[in-house]
Each structure stands twice: as structure tokens, then as C-alpha cells.
């Protein structure tokens, strides 16, 4: 049976179609999920895509976090279902408290859009097992509120437990603490990432195809589970 990976569309989601395309290119079946529908339609994993859900009103991800579909996703994520939050999706995961810390306004105050070099720090999560630890990749990054912050003891715990998934290399585009671009929960099934691997899956449209590994990783994870 084909692996089914759900991609949630919130009002204001932007990269849901690209995420679906990346899922398809990785060999899985993308399933469109709607924010008002609690039913996950038998998906094996979920991607929360980038964009500006609910216009980023109140705080990025703050309103989406209380949408019906998130109730089920939070419940299933706690039971081990793989969930990848990209950009706005990362913000939703932090607002949901599935991941610690928060994403705040870039220190430069500018919206930043660039091809960004990252180092994969943890290649053991559900979404990074097709990479090797220390591997450097280049994927697009585009955010206005991508500055990862957390208090000192949370940062220490993330480092000590190997829960920093990816770090910015050469340039820290938004002032994130400790150059953090992505983190995971303790179980390794929930990953939040500020840059956009779904925009780097084909040579025609991406700077590289380095992003595909996130989507092939979860397939392997699910087949071996």
C-alpha cells in the first residue's frame, strides 16, 4: 500500500501544493487535509506547510493551532505519528507546544529570501534519516518571523539531547539563537524547520534537490516501522 502523507491547508497557506508535489516526487501519495476537518483520512504522516495562515494575525500560527484538524494532529503526534512543520508549520508546532521555544520577528526586521546553507545535525529523526549527520545542504529560506528563541535551559536541553535538527551555516539569516534552523521533539517524530525543503526537490525550480531527503526519510521511517 502506498504511504499516505497529509498536507494541511489553512486559510492563508502558501506552500501546500509544493509540499504535496514533494511528497509525490518522494514516492508517497499526498493527501490534502482541510483545517476545519478533524479527520486525517488515514494518513501515515502530516506536513504543515509554509505560508501565512490566518494572515499571521495575533501571532504566526497562534490561530491555526486551535483549528479542528490540529486537535487530531496534536493527539496523533503524541502517539508517534511523524509531523513536519515547515516555516509557518514550525510556528504552528511551537504554538501547539509540540516543540519548545518560539519564532519571533527577524532581528533585521527584513523579510529574508535566499538560498540557505544548512548543516543537518541530527540524522536520526523520522524526517532526516536519509541524510548523514554533519551533511551540508542548500534549500530556499523565506521568512519574516523566523528567529528561533527559547530560554537558556531549553536551549541547553535541546543541545544535550541532540534535538537540534539543522543549523544555519555561513549566514544566520534571522538571528536565531545558536543558529538553529530546525528542532525535533524527544521522540524524533515531530520536526520543525524554518527553511523550505519542499522548494528544493527538482532541478528546474530549486537551487538543488537537497530538500527531497526530508520526504524520502519519512517514507523509509514508515516502511520500517
Amino acid at each position: 500500500m502506498t504511504t499516505r502523507v497529509g498536507v494541511v491547508t489553512f486559510p492563508g497557506s502558501l506552500d501546500d501544493r509544493d509540499a504535496q508535489r514533494a511528497v509525490r516526487l518522494a514516492g508517497a501519495e499526498p493527501v490534502a487535509l482541510w483545517h476545519r476537518d478533524k479527520d486525517l483520512h488515514q494518513v501515515d504522516a502530516v506536513v504543515l506547510p509554509g505560508g501565512f495562515s490566518y494572515g499571521d494575525y495575533l501571532r504566526c500560527g497562534a490561530i491555526s493551532r486551535f483549528s479542528p484538524v490540529m486537535d487530531t494532529i496534536i493527539e496523533q503526534a503524541k502517539l508517534g505519528m511523524p509531523v513536519l512543520g515547515i516555516c509557518n508549520g514550525f510556528q504552528v508546532l511551537c504554538e501547539s507546544h509540540l516543540l519548545p521555544g518560539a519564532l519571533t520577528r527577524n532581528d533585521s526586521l527584513h523579510f529574508v529570501c535566499r538560498d540557505q546553507k544548512l548543516r543537518i545535525e541530527n540524522a536520526g529523526t523520522a524526517w532526516t534519516r536519509d541524510y548523514s549527520a554533519g551533511q551540508e545542504i542548500v534549500v530556499p529560506l523565506k521568512n519574516g518571523e523566523g528567529r528561533f528563541v527559547a530560554d537558556e535551559h531549553v536551549l541547553e536541553a535541546l543541545e544535550a539531547e541532540g534535538r537540534v535538527v539543522a543549523r544555519y551555516v555561513d549566514v544566520n539569516p534571522n538571528g536565531s539563537y545558536r543558529d538553529i534552523a530546525g528542532i525535533t521533539n524527544a521522540a524524533g517524530n515531530v520536526v520543525g524547520l524554518m527553511p523550505h525543503p519542499e522548494h528544493a526537490v527538482e532541478p528546474l525550480t530549486g537551487p538543488t534537490t537537497d530538500g527531497l531527503g526530508f520526504f524520502t526519510s519519512v517514507l523509509k521511517q514508515l516502511v520500517n516501522a
Binding site: 495575533l58 501571532r59 497562534a62 519548545p100 521555544g101 519571533t104 520577528r105 532581528d107 526586521l109 528563541v149
Partner: protein, 95 residues
């Protein structure tokens, strides 16, 4: 109708680049002597019923779970006296 005001501010240890940008702009406009600026949010909640302890407890809960992200923000809740007169608008070149 009773009004409850919830003020939300970034915690002191969280960098506030918007406040900094405002602070940097002030001297250029001739407003000197301002040592620091922090920017926050103000929510005005109009209650249907009376402002009793139960209502305030619910509003604190809303502030804690929704209006503020307590990972990065602090909030205060206060009751505002009912305003009877409509505040006069700033005199301008109304057309």
C-alpha cells in the same frame, strides 16, 4: 458594557527589534531623551455580563492560552472603567 484590557508585552529578555527601530527613529524626528522603547499589544474585551471574579478568571485563561504566548510574552489583565462620553476625535482638516 464592561471593558477588560489585556496588555501583552514581550518578556524583557526577548529582543524587540520593532521597539528598537522605533527608538532609533525618535531622535531623527526630534524626540530626544527616550532611553528605550518596547512595543506590545493591547486587547480590549467588551463583556456581555458583569466583570466578576469568574469572568476575570476566564479572561486570564484566554490570555494565558491564546492572547499571549507565555514562552516569549507576559500579560496583564485590568478592568477599565466604563467610558460614558465618546472621546472627541483629534481636530484635523476634516473635509
Amino acid at each position: 458594557m464592561a471593558r477588560v484590557v489585556v496588555d501583552v508585552m514581550l518578556k524583557p529578555e526577548i529582543l524587540d527589534p520593532q521597539g528598537q527601530a522605533v527608538q532609533r527613529a525618535l531622535p531623527r524626528l526630534g524626540f530626544t531623551g527616550i532611553a528605550d522603547v518596547r512595543q506590545g499589544k493591547r486587547f480590549e474585551l467588551e463583556l456581555e455580563g458583569p466583570v466578576d471574579d469568574a469572568a476575570l478568571a476566564r479572561i486570564r485563561e484566554a490570555a494565558e492560552t491564546f492572547l499571549a504566548n507565555t514562552v516569549i510574552e507576559d500579560f496583564t489583565v485590568r478592568v477599565e472603567e466604563t467610558v460614558t462620553s465618546v472621546p472627541s476625535s483629534v481636530a484635523g482638516d476634516a473635509k
